[in-house]
């Protein structure tokens, strides 16, 4: 008995329990039997247990170097450090699918343990949907994509991980992105549950919003980490190549962003229900498409580390999801009437519509570009490619308008805004934009497009900061210190100010992209020892190569000095690593030095013996802002997501649906008391004296 056998048995058991859970949850919901529903919940937790066990078995197989397991032999070897050996768990197709399934089961368990917050009528259907998705993945794992399949013999050593993956980024980027793809399952399950039960009320909206926000934040981090990884590893001086896999990771992010904005309209005004439901469904379908594309090699890409026959299964699954969702959707369509009417074009609702239009437009353009080579191949047998310039030209303007809308939108009030107050509010941001547009050309930045983009970013950055400043100032007048005022403001209106922080992060990201897109400099030169090359005021002096041999890797580095204004700044060692088994795919060692907000990125292009090297130097202005912006977006996302215990009813006017949760106190009591976090209870008790009504509602939620 090997660990791999145990793992396989766990997978089979997980499949069995998942099937059980689906059936019992549906039967329990239809019959209204709370006993069956809680049995289904336990079934889902059991699935989690077995999938975690299976994953643990795979990791152990890796760590004890059980090369009798085909997957272990393919993805690891004896010389890899233990952390890469463990991370090789998700290095290939089988393992990454197992990782996906395991994370989904963990999220399902989190959902179950917090299910008292969700409307009780939805819980069994959400559970059943999650387990149905889970079942698909587990079935793939036990049939066509089995990570525990054994070889007829035990090879003495494994092949090892692809050198591109032997990087610290590997430890964080793939798991984050796969988790992001996976986490769109929960909102989808909520959408299915809502369509089945017909309960699209505010309780549903709150739950689905928070889960989508979680998915969105994870996906944001995954994307930024992906950009960071590409920047540090691939050696072309950029961070985003509009590669098909990158695109397919961006697509659900765009639609989820659209969803997060348009739900605010539903939350406040009860409009756009149909639209929101479709956005959830589309996001999930796109995330499945993304997972499939990462793992199938349908379209050639730098990420295609795995080619296999699972494509057909994924396409079938995708088709089932789309058909099933469409069926449910049209079945429910009569119920989805807007509750309120629209007042004015100059209102926040309208700005959210514009936001959705732009995001969906960008998503469509990117999807179109990604699929076009396939379409052209099929229709006209022409081998065409759609490269980064296409995406830049098509989506660049869309994102620019989006950033502008991001500045104006928050200045608009719900329902209607007088154009006078809008103009007054826009004064300061417009001044920031004008200053930016006046100073930059004088400072020598003469690209008109870049200047327009910078000015727009300044406008939006100014608008957001001014909004925050006004809130802080009003609080300060109430007697709070500025910092305290800022903290209470953010803490009290997490959704709004978290959103502003995300926007600010996005503006920083945009400035970084604009800077590096328009003002990247690069040069290459073939040098002999003592020779130098110059770029942007820096002088690089080359001193020959070092060739180091280690048991499983050969490292060639060039010694280079960086000088500026006659001063030696530092030594750098751009190089290449040759891993055994992967002689043709050397990994790169790329020194990236940050001077202020400018990166110097040095890449060893080619070399000849000990005393000749071709070195490429990139000067990438403002790239560090990308990472700072990413951190802002992460924190903003977390702030928005952070549980708000004192929720007031957010509707501007009276709407139906608030009372639905009231009747569900009984079923909420089904959840064992241990699942209540102590702080929750304490806070609610403390606040009960002030607002008995709201706390009562909160306790139920």
């Amino acid at each position: 008995m090997y660990f791999s056998d145990l793992g396989f048995i766990s997978l089979l058991l997980a499949a069995g329990f998942a099937t059980y859970t689906i059936l019992i949850a549906i039967i329990g919901a239809v019959r209204g039997s709370s006993a069956l529903v809680s049995s289904a919940k336990r079934g889902a937790v059991a699935v989690t247990g077995f999938l975690v066990l299976a994953s643990t078995c795979l990791v152990i197989s890796f760590l004890i170097h059980d090369f009798g397991v085909n997957y272990v032999a393919q993805q690891s070897n004896l010389s890899m450090p233990w952390y890469f050996t463990a991370a090789a768990f998700y290095g290939g197709q089988q393992g990454s699918l197992l990782y996906w399934a395991m994370m989904l089961s963990i999220f399902s368990a989190i959902f179950i343990f917090t299910s008292r917050r969700a409307p009780a009528a939805l819980v069994p259907y959400v559970t059943a949907t999650l387990m149905a998705i889970e079942l698909f993945f587990v079935l793939m794992l036990v049939t066509v994509s089995n990570p525990f399949a054994r070889l007829p013999f035990v090879p003495p050593d494994g092949v090892g991980l692809n050198p591109l993956l032997m990087d610290p980024g590997m430890l964080v980027h793939p798991p984050m992105l796969l988790m992001g793809f996976m986490s769109f399952s929960v909102p989808y399950a909520f959408a299915v549950a809502a369509m089945v039960t017909g309960k699209l009320d505010s309780g549903w909206l709150r739950s689905i919003r928070r889960w989508t926000l979680a998915a969105w934040t994870i996906q944001t981090v995954g994307l930024i980490l992906g950009a960071w990884w590409a920047y540090h590893v691939l050696g072309w001086g950029g961070y985003w190549g509009w590669d098909p896999v990158e695109n397919s990771a961006l697509l659900p992010w765009l639609t989820a962003t659209a969803f997060l904005h348009s739900t605010m309209v539903q939350e406040r005004r009860g409009m756009l229900k149909v639209w929101n439901l479709s956005l959830v469904i589309v996001s999930f379908a796109l995330s499945i498409f993304g997972t499939f594309e990462v793992r199938s090699g349908l379209i050639s890409s730098v990420h295609s580390f795995a080619y296999s026959a699972i494509g057909g299964f994924f396409l079938a699954f995708l088709a089932i999801i789309v058909l099933f969702s469409l069926g449910l959707f049209f079945f429910r369509l009569p119920k989805l009437r807007p509750e309120q009417e629209f007042d004015s074009v100059l209102s926040r609702e309208a700005s959210f519509l514009l936001n959705n239009f732009l995001l969906i437009g960008a998503a469509f353009a990117i999807l179109w570009g990604t699929l076009f080579p396939l379409i052209s191949q099929a229709v006209s047998h022409q081998e065409l490619t759609v490269g980064p310039p296409f995406y830049n030209q098509v989506t660049g303007p869309i994102f620019l308008v989006l950033i502008l809308a991001m500045g104006i939108g928050p200045l608009l009030a719900w329902r209607r805004t007088s154009s006078r107050s809008l103009l007054r509010n826009m004064g300061i941001p417009a001044l920031a934009a004008a200053l930016c547009a006046a100073i930059l050309p004088l400072a020598g930045i003469r690209n008109p497009l870049a200047n327009v983009a910078f000015a727009v970013s300044a406008f939006t950055g100014g608008a957001i900061l001014y909004e925050i400043w006004r809130g802080v100032r009003v609080r300060h007048k109430h007697g709070e210190m500025y910092l305290v005022a800022l903290f209470t403001l953010v803490n009290r209106y997490r959704q709004r100010y978290g959103g502003y922080i995300v926007h600010l992060g996005f503006v920083l990201l945009a400035i970084g992209i604009i800077g590096s897109h328009f003002f990247q400099l690069q040069t290459d030169a073939t040098l002999k020892p003592g020779q130098e090359m110059n770029i942007a005021g820096y002088k690089l002096v080359y001193f020959g190569n070092i060739d180091e041999h280690y048991p499983d890797v050969e490292v060639i580095t060039a010694q280079v000095q960086v000088w500026q204004d006659g001063q030696l700044l530092r030594y750098i060692y751009p190089g290449r690593q040759f891993f055994t088994h992967f002689d043709n795919e050397p990994a790169s060692l790329i020194p990236i030095d940050t001077y202020g907000l400018t990166d110097m990125y040095v890449f060893l292009d080619n070399w000849n013996g000990p005393s000749q090297a071709t070195i490429r130097v990139f000067i990438n202005p403002l790239v560090p802002l990308l990472w700072i912006g990413g951190v802002f977006m992460l924190f903003g996302g977390i702030i928005c997501w952070w549980p708000d215990r004192r929720r007031k009813p957010r509707r501007v006017a009276v709407g139906a649906g608030e009372d639905v949760e009231r009747g569900e106190g009984a079923s909420a009591a089904l959840v064992p008391p241990t699942e209540q976090t102590p702080t929750d209870g304490a806070n609610n008790a403390g606040e009960a004296t002030d607002e008995p009504d709201k706390t009562a509602e909160e306790a139920i939620l």
Partner: protein
């Protein structure tokens, strides 16, 4: 007069910006170095031996040679268009990073534009439809923003009223303080 204050300001700012821009563009015409031009052309060609990288970005032999050819041809005085055509004749359409704007590949460019345009038209009609039905339904008066006595800065009045409203709805301490104040 006050009504047009913003308009005047806006025009003034535009005029200043226009002046700065024309000065800058006229005195320093944009100059591209040879490296930059090689880079520009290279980024429009795909590296045929790589996975999704352009000739400008890829470190492969193929791309190095292609960059060399671009550099030589630029030095011979050929135009960007001529160089790209040279590569297209040599390797076929698949070397183009951008779908050519002719033949079937034109579809790649037209569809996103058409969809965006269609979306915009749809958005317009949806908004108009909504607004019309709203106008018929109700001429609802907006909730009058209550001005409190402490407001000293006209610019902040609206924002403040909104904040007070939100605070009062959700924060017992503020609600109390407001009551005391009034």
């Amino acid at each position: 007069m006050k009504k047009y204050r913003y308009l005047h300001l806006f025009i003034a700012v535009l005029a200043i910006l226009g002046a700065i821009w024309s000065y800058v563009l006229l005195t320093n015409p944009a100059q591209e170095t040879l490296d930059q031009r090689v880079q520009d052309i290279g980024s429009q060609l795909r590296c045929l031996v790589c996975q999704g990288e352009s000739v400008a970005d890829s470190p492969s032999q193929f791309s190095q040679q292609a960059r060399m050819i671009i550099r030589e041809q630029l030095q011979e005085g050929k135009s960007e268009q001529q160089i790209i055509q040279f590569f297209q004749a040599r390797y076929g359409d698949r070397i183009l990073w951008l779908p050519p704007k002719q033949g079937f590949a034109l579809v790649a460019w037209l569809i996103p534009g058409a969809i965006l345009l269609g979306g915009l038209v749809l958005l317009f009609f949806v908004l108009r439809n909504w607004q019309r039905s709203a106008a018929i339904a109700i001429a609802q008066p907006t909730i009058s923003t209550k001005e409190t006595s402490e407001i000293d800065d006209a610019d902040f009045a609206e924002y403040r009223a909104q904040l007070e409203q939100e605070l009062a709805a959700d924060d017992p301490i503020f609600a109390r303080r407001k009551k005391e104040a009034s």
